[in-house]
């Protein structure tokens, strides 16, 4: 980093930003810089690795067929088929299903937390939410596999109890803590003066929330939803154990599905290294990465673009 300083005779002299610091200070700064570069490197490595692994797939299979194919049967002994649609639809079904459940409940929870909760209840609830967020996904998956599926079997009598609904409900429970945390921060940031002004004009508390607080924190709420959705899309273990892993294309919540994440996880235990199947799995991973990347960028953009500055 260079600065333009006035030199002798009025000429410009370029000097390093930290030239005035001792060598020790400079070397420390260098070390810290290098440490930080690890993160950028890591992100690049993720993308690069996926690309490298997926590249051979571009040559050996028809990419159009990959993105539009409706059958995923990669290790058929004679005619392997690599259509990603069943996996994509599976991922979307459980994620949207989870969002449908998580958004109302999460929003209700957020409003309660930000506006209605007694401080002492809040002091119990917030840590509880953190604990819920910290529970490993394999435990959620185990619960869904063993217990939640039984409840679904009793309530809906489906053909198979390990289905998309099972995954969606469990994912919703996992999504809610993240959503509530981010959304609550947003609602909390709305200054009390707005609320007080509204109440002073005669609005009820609910009317205040609905017409003043919610619109003011909308960007944060939307960001929360998008982030939660991104987490759901990328979730592996829960859906792996809960959804039955039948890779067929359908839109029935009460039948088994397989998500992109589960397909990678399961098939990898069995795939032959560097075979076509292996590279296609990397391609699925690449697709997944791009999708979650876009979702993350979206969340970030929404936050920055629509944030109300108070």
């Amino acid at each position: 980093m260079a600065l333009n300083l006035g030199g002798r005779n009025g000429s410009k002299r370029r000097v390093r930003r930290n030239a005035h610091l001792s060598p020790r200070e400079r070397s420390i700064e260098l070390t810290l810089t290098l440490a930080t570069w690890t993160s950028v490197l890591a992100l690049g490595a993720v993308f690069g690795e996926l690309l490298l692994g997926a590249l051979p797939a571009f040559y050996s299979i028809n990419i159009i067929d990959f993105f539009s194919g409706t059958v995923w049967n990669p290790s058929h002994p004679v005619y392997p088929l690599y259509g990603i649609l069943p996996l994509l639809v599976g991922t979307l079904m459980v994620s949207f299903g989870a969002a449908l459940i998580a958004i109302p409940i999460g929003l209700g929870c957020t409003i309660w937390l930000a506006e209605l909760a007694h401080p002492r209840l809040k002091a119990i609830f917030k840590p509880a939410l953190e604990i819920l967020a910290g529970i490993p996904s394999v435990i959620f998956g185990f619960f869904a596999l063993v217990i939640l599926s039984e409840w679904i079997a009793v309530m809906f009598d489906p053909v198979t109890k390990l289905n998309a609904l099972n995954g969606a409900i469990m994912l919703a429970v996992m999504m809610i803590p993240i959503m509530v945390t981010v959304a609550e921060d947003a609602m909390h940031a709305v200054p009390d003066s707005l609320r007080e002004a509204s109440l002073a004009l005669g609005a009820t508390r609910w009317e205040t929330i609905r017409h003043v607080v919610l619109p003011a924190s909308l960007s944060g709420i939307v960001a929360a939803v998008v982030l939660g959705f991104g987490r759901a899309v990328g979730e592996t273990m829960t859906v792996l154990m809960a959804t039955g892993n039948a890779s067929m294309l359908h839109f029935d919540l009460l039948r088994s599905v397989q998500t992109m994440t589960a397909a990678i996880a399961i098939d990898f235990g069995e795939v032959e290294f560097y075979s076509e199947h292996y590279h296609v799995l990397f391609l699925v991973g690449l697709t997944l990465f791009v999708i979650t990347f876009i979702i993350n960028l979206l969340a970030d953009w929404v936050t920055r673009r629509y944030r109300e500055e108070y």
Binding site: N73, V159, G244, E270, E272, F273
Partner: protein
């Protein structure tokens, strides 16, 4: 600074405990590790074998993992494992791959399996012909009432496609036709048992070692309408090949077995040791003639 001290202390403690725990077999003898991979059907069997073998051969460690017969054979070809267990025979394409890689697969028969067709315990159907079984699994028969049962849709459960059982079934029952596209591909024998236990219209195929469970029926099979029906639970029928889905279970090595692998295999091919355990697990032991044949290959 207090926190730093605690943190460092915690890390040191963890490291110390970790190192302590890993000082478990420091008696000077070098442990040889044999890595084996492959069939999920044989996984439990091989794990029991490994455990009992290691109990009497302390300095040889056997690591067994699953993934399907195809995975195991591939790992053997790529030199990643010493032996591979498989519930189907190696294919000629795989042999060619192996030789191209400098690997020479040697086949050892190690036990006998009868693939059991299992249904829910409330399902009245008790016998199927091979023809009917084919129809069920290729999707042309979709209701139990077409094979003498109740009016109930058939739900198909099968294995993932790297499974030797999947391939064996495909070759011998489906005669290389496609499986029905509505078949649920599950990743293990016990998953199939669990699924069928919970589904009154379900049908699945598992190794006989897994069929000994409550809540399911094991069907008899007959070649055609007039033939005698045999059950996979009938040891003689399976060993004589009268049961239609009898098959051998195999272990493949790279070339003539090394000293340790030799110990391992000869333990397995012992009527009182490995073969005895095979019966206990629910599979069937080899006859003495076959044992002798296989032992001759040990060199």
């Amino acid at each position: 600074m207090k926190y730093l001290a605690i943190g460092v202390a915690a890390i040191i403690m963890m490291a110390a405990i970790g190192l302590l725990l890993s000082q478990n077999d420091d008696d000077g003898t070098e442990s040889v590790i044999i890595k084996q991979k492959g069939s999920d059907t044989m996984l439990e069997l091989c794990q029991f074998w490994a455990e009992d073998f290691m109990a009497s051969n302390g300095n040889v460690q056997i690591e067994v993992s699953g993934g399907g017969s195809s995975t195991g054979i591939t790992a053997l070809i790529n030199g990643q494992v010493d032996t591979a267990q498989a519930s189907r025979q190696i294919k000629s394409t795989e042999v060619a791959s192996a030789q191209a890689n400098g690997v020479d697969p040697v086949e050892f028969r190690v036990a006998i399996d009868g693939i059991a067709i299992v249904t829910h315990e409330d399902n009245p159907v008790e016998v199927l012909t091979v023809e009917q079984l084919r129809g069920i699994y290729n999707g042309s028969i979709t209701n139990w009432n077409q094979v003498g049962g109740d009016d109930r849709t058939i739900t198909l459960y099968g294995r993932q496609s790297t499974s030797g059982t999947y391939e064996f079934f495909w070759e011998h029952v489906l005669e290389k036709e496609n499986y029905s596209s509505s078949m649920n591909m599950l990743s293990g024998n016990s998953a199939i048992v669990l699924a069928v236990q919970g589904d009154t219209g379900g049908v699945g195929y598992v190794g006989i070692g897994y069929a000994d469970s409550s809540g399911i029926n094991v069907l008899d099979l007959k070649k055609d309408d007039d033939a005698t029906a045999y059950s996979p639970q009938d040891a003689e029928a399976v060993q004589n090949g009268q049961y239609d889905l009898s098959r051998y279970l195999y272990i493949y090595t790279d070339g003539t077995p090394t000293e340790q692998v030799n110990l391992w295999l000869s333990w397995i091919l012992d009527a009182d040791l490995g073969q005895q355990v095979a019966s206990e697990v629910g599979f069937y032991p080899l006859s003495n003639d076959i044992i002798a044949e296989e032992r001759a290959k040990l060199g």
